[in-house]
Structures are given as C-alpha cells and as structure tokens.
C-alpha cells in the first residue's frame, strides 16, 4: 500500500521540483505569527512571558519581511503554492513589491505598538490575551498583503477582523462594547459583500488565483456575446473595500469606534486596518480590472473628495484627541482613494507611498495622543495644556509627526501629496488637486490647534502634574516612527523608486503572472 505506483503523470497537476528556500519567505510571516499567537494562547496564565515572546516574534517578523522585500526587489515576485498543487488549483501566496513593502512597514508599526503596549496594557488586558490577539491580527494583516488568491484574501480579512473584535473589547467597558458593536456590524456587512462578490467573480472567471484572473480578464473583455458583467463586479468590489477602508459615505463606523479601545489598539487599527482595505482596493482595481476602474473613476474621485474634506472638517471640530486622530486617518484614506481614482502610474505610486506614510504616521500619532493623555490625565483638548514644558523631547517628536500628517516639508507626508497633486493636474482634474490642498490645509489647522492648546498653552489651573513622566516604553516606539518619517522626508529617493516599482508591477502584472505560472503568461 505504501507509495503505490501510478501511471498518472503527476507533473501535470503537482509541483515536482524542490521549492527554493527563498520561496518560504512569503509563507513565513503568516506562519510565524500564527505559531507565536497559538503559543501565547497555550500559556495564557503566564502573562509575564507574553510580552517577551510577542516582541521577539515581531522583531523576527520585521527581519523576515525585510528579507522578503530584499528578495523581491533583487529577483522579482516570489510565489509559493500550497500543498504542492500547481496554480490555479493550489492556493498561491505571491509577494510582489507592493505586498512586500506594505508587509514590512506594517510589521514595523506593529512592533512599535507592541513596545508601547508595555506601558498601556494592564494585567487584565494581558490575561484577556492582548498579545495573542495582536499576533493573530498580524497573521491576518501579513496574510492579506502576501496572498495571491482572492478567496484567501477574504479569509485573512476574517482572521484580522476576529482578532480586532477581541482587541476592541479589551477591558469590557460599556462604551467599548458599544463601539465594538458598530464596528463589528458594519465590518461584517463589508466582509459579507466582499464574499458575495468573490462568489460572483468565481462564476465569471472560474478561478480565484489573482494572477490567473489578471491574465484572463483581457480575453473576457473581448467577448461581446453575453458579455461578462465585469462592471458590476468592479463596482461591488469598490464598495466592499471602501467600507473596509473607511471612505465616504461608508466611513461612519470609524469615528464611532476607534476612540473607545486602549490607545495601543487604536494605534494598530488606525495604522493598519484601513490600509488593508486600501491595499485590497489597489490590488483588485489597478491590477485585475483596470479598464472597469477607469469607467467608475469619477464616482471614486467624488467619494475621495468628500472623504478628504469631510474628514478634515471632522478633525477640526473634535475636542477629544482620539476622535480627532480618527478623522485624520479618514483624510489620508481620501488621498489614497484619489490616487486610485486617477489610476496613472504616478498617482498609484503616490497612493502606495501615502499608504506607507499613513501606516507609520497614524500609528505614531495615536501613540502621541495616548502619551499626551496619560501625561495630562485627560484626552479633552479644552482641559489639556503645558505638555511642552513637561516633556520637551516628546513634544518635539509630536510636532514632527503632526507636520508629517499635515503633509508639510521636510517630512514624509509631502512626497505622496506632491505626486498625487501632479497626477491630478496631469489629467486636468484641478478640482481634485484643490480638494487635496484644501484638506491638507484644514488638517494643518486641526493639528496646529492641538499643538497650540495641548502643548504650548500653559497648564490650566488644577491640572494634575504628578503623573509619571515618559520613559523608554513610550520614547522608543514614538522615536522610531518619527525617525522613519524624518528619514523618508529628507531622503525620499529609495522609497520613491520602490513606490514606482510597486506601481509599475501593478500596471503591468506580467512579472507577477510569470512568478505564479512560470511556463507561460498566456492562458
């Protein structure tokens, strides 16, 4: 019975060669996070070990993602197909430049948040499995960035969604439950819509592998008799991903929920989750259905403008710092959406760079807000003050991050905005350019207001000055993220080249397709 000899030629259906060791890099981020998360679930009582294991695992994740990015940039996209089945039958994990760089930057953001959590998450949060949820969330995020299969993308969305529910209700306060309920229901609707659309896509294409879809889309578009409803498909995908990414008019869940959990959790969500939605939107609309995206670009652009302007006005109106940052996240989403709407190589690379900048800056801004709130004992702008004299270095880093978020030189927010502006002026969409500038101006006002009131203004009477000072657990993550923002601001060439390469890889996915189907890019 052992190893029966079959007359069937296995090479027609199975991978028969030994995969290169470098190919494992595309699997390892997800596998490592799942394994480490599972280990933390098993030792749930020994909470002291949780932080050590989780931070070690996240450092390892950063290293693996960096190696993966290096591998992708030196020798093109990396693919591994599960179970030894040949694609499109096996589920492929494919990392191209876009996926790899997103995975690396989000791992850095998660590591920073994990270090900050040493100060923010108390023993009860640890007992409820904060770090286990964090690692499983990162498994979902890494999986979403690295998978090459659209149904698998849905699965990773679910993984990160379920972990995010756990993180949201850490602490079990009634306000958190209320926020989590809004978040859960609206996100479940978005995910269900995504699933329905994937089913629809399978009915049209007969495949779920993204490389396979990309190479079949061209031929399907030529069919005139019973033309496949690619337009409907695209519209549904855009709606589902816009819900995930918090684009107007389906973004009301974000301000309703992001200010309720622990600040580390807000930082993770604000930095990572909406960007996963943007990633999926760019991956699907730019790479798989570019022609149909062009047809609804005006709708997307209108949504982008409204997201930006209303988000910026929202930021200006807030008194609670955490809510304010939530609106700044939304403004960024509007900018990225504008890049998707234009769809030229410059604008797509602008959107990708904006996403990277937003992951770093928004995570850092939430941490800044958390630290400010901890130093002053309140998150309310009307009662904050005097932070500049209490913690000058912290205030300096905060100012850096606020300027970066507003898109002022010489920091990282400038370059993506410049590219988006150039791209919108190139196609004559002056109104889009104006919206980008106006929203940037409003965000500058909103953040300047925060800096003036919370940092520069002398501490109001009766403010508690006895709360513990900043220490390394908050300095290290905020410092690391501010350094990233500064370096990318003054020396942008490497990252600009990277963003360009990522956008080119999406506009012409032949390298991506070759990586999955080495024998031929034609169907």
């Amino acid at each position: 019975m052992a190893s029966p000899s079959t007359p069937v030629d296995l090479a027609a259906a199975m991978v028969t060669t030994v995969p290169a060791l470098a190919d494992w890099l595309v699997i390892l981020p997800t596998a490592l996070m799942i394994l480490a998360g599972a280990a933390l679930m098993m030792i749930r009582k020994s909470v002291r070990l949780h932080a050590v294991i989780a931070i070690a695992a996240l450092v390892l994740l950063v290293l693996i993602d960096a190696l993966l990015l290096w591998q992708v940039s030196s020798s093109g996209p990396v693919t591994m197909t599960m179970g030894g089945w040949l694609p499109p039958f096996g589920i492929s994990f494919t990392a191209d430049m876009f996926g790899a760089v997103m995975a690396l930057v989000s791992a850095l953001a998660a590591l920073s948040a994990a270090v900050y959590s040493l100060r923010d998450i108390d023993a009860s949060g640890l007992r409820h499995g904060f770090f286990a949820f964090l690692l499983l969330l990162m498994a979902g995020v890494s999986g979403a960035f690295l998978t090459g299969d659209i149904f698998n993308l849905y699965v990773w969305f679910e993984v990160l969604l379920i972990s995010s529910f756990g993180l949201l209700i850490l602490g079990s306060e009634p306000k958190q439950i209320e926020g989590a309920l809004k978040y859960a229901i609206l996100n479940l609707i978005g995910t269900t819509l995504f699933l329905i659309t994937v089913g629809y896509l399978y009915a049209i294409f007969g495949t779920l592998n993204m490389a396979d879809i990309a190479r079949k889309a061209g031929a399907l578009r030529g069919v005139t008799e019973n033309a496949p409803p690619l337009m409907t498909l695209t519209a549904l995908f855009v709606l589902a991903f816009c819900m995930k990414a918090a684009a107007f008019p389906v973004n009301f869940w974000l301000p309703a929920s992001y200010h309720t959990p622990r600040i580390t959790v807000s930082a993770l969500f604000g930095g990572l989750l909406t960007k996963v939605g943007i990633y999926a939107l760019i991956r699907v609309t730019i790479m798989l259905v570019p022609v149909e995206r062009e047809a609804i670009s005006l709708v997307v652009a209108a949504s982008a403008v409204l997201t930006m302007i209303l988000g910026a006005l929202g930021a200006l109106a807030q008194n609670d710092l955490r809510r304010m940052v939530g609106y700044v996240v939304i403004v960024g989403i509007g900018n990225m959406l504008a890049g998707v709407a234009i769809g030229s190589p410059t604008s797509v690379s602008g959107a990708i760079l904006y996403a990277l900048h937003s992951i770093v800056t928004m995570t850092a801004l939430y941490l800044v807000v958390g630290e400010a709130g901890r130093l002053a004992g309140t998150f309310e702008l009307s009662r904050l003050g005097g932070l500049w004299s209490r913690a000058p270095w912290f205030s300096f880093a905060s100012l850096t991050l606020m300027l970066a978020a507003a898109g002022l030189p010489p920091l990282s927010g400038l370059w993506p905005k410049v590219m988006l502006l150039k791209a919108s002026l190139d196609i004559g969409a002056w109104w889009l350019a104006i919206a980008i500038l106006v929203s940037a101006f409003l965000v500058t006002l909103a953040l300047a207001r925060v800096f003036l009131l919370a940092f520069w203004r002398p501490a109001p009477e009766g403010m508690d000055q006895s709360l513990p000072e900043t220490d390394w657990r908050s300095v290290l993550p905020i410092g690391l993220l501010s350094a990233l923002v500064l370096v990318f601001g003054v020396y942008p060439e490497p990252l600009l080249a990277l963003g360009q390469a990522a956008a080119d890889g999406l506009a012409d996915p032949s390298a991506y397709i070759r990586s999955v189907f080495p024998t031929g890019a034609a169907p």
Partner: protein
C-alpha cells in the same frame, strides 16, 4: 434542565459523544467527517456535561483552559504545514509515513495531524463560548472569543 435523569445519563452521553467525535475525525480522511464536524460533536458533548454538572465540572474534566486547547490545535496545524520545509516540498503538502504498529501498517500523515489541529481549535473555541454562556454573569470561567 438540571434533573436527576440528566445528571445520571450526562456522563455516559458525553463519553459516547467524545468517542464518536474521534471516530468522525478519523473517518473524515476519505469519507464524510473530519476535524471541524468532529470538534463540534466533542464541544456539544462537553456542553451537555456542562448543562448537567455546571461549567466548573467541565473545566475540571478537561484540565486545560478551552482557549489553551484551541491554541494547541492552532500550533499543531501550523506545524503540520511547516514540516514541509524539512521535506523539501511546498507549504502544507501532505507527507506520509507508514510505521508498523503491532503488526499492522498504520498510515500517518501531516494531513491527519492538521485535521487533529482543526478538531482541537473547534473543541477549544466552541467550548469556551459554551462555558461562557453557561456561567452565571458574575462568574468568570472563560471569555467567549470566537473562532473556527
């Protein structure tokens, strides 16, 4: 629900259902069944035991916290996939060994260990939910984080 009849037969039913769940798990390799449905059967067995004797009794009977069991299953499933590195085949490829145990050839595979992992994840997470639902609000026998 907590009648003498239920309390008397619950251990027997639980034992039978647990045995049946393992049967369904192993049967699932080539026929209908598998880790997911087997895990659900096992979790409902524990739920019946919990209804009859209380969540505390279930917790004592299974020794480990349900979420720890789910974690062990997740780890087992991940390891089953990663064994492929050593064998030089892609992630999650089925690998077989055929050891001779007591004169019978027993086929063992990473497919099966993966399925056992699924079984443990489902048993752990569904039992955690069931115990949380059966626990009085002021108690704290387990928090109902879902999954599976």
């Amino acid at each position: 629900m907590n009648t003498l009849i239920l309390r008397t037969v619950a251990p027997v039913i639980t034992a039978l259902m647990l045995l049946f769940s393992v049967f369904v798990l192993l049967r699932g390799h080539n026929e209908p069944g598998g880790g997911f449905i087997g895990g659900l059967i096992a979790a409902s067995a524990l739920a019946i035991f919990g209804i009859a004797h209380g969540p505390g009794a279930v917790q004592r009977a299974i020794r480990f916290h349900p979420m720890a069991i789910a974690g062990a299953g997740l780890a087992l499933a991940a390891v089953s996939g990663l064994v492929s590195i050593a064998a030089g085949v892609p992630f999650m490829s089925g690998l077989w060994i055929y050891p001779d145990i007591l004169g019978a050839e027993v086929p063992l595979s990473t497919v099966m260990s993966f399925d056992i992992g699924v079984y443990l994840v489902v048993v752990g997470s569904v039992t955690a939910i069931a115990l949380a639902l059966e626990t009085e609000p002021d108690g704290g026998a387990g928090e109902g984080e879902g999954g599976g």
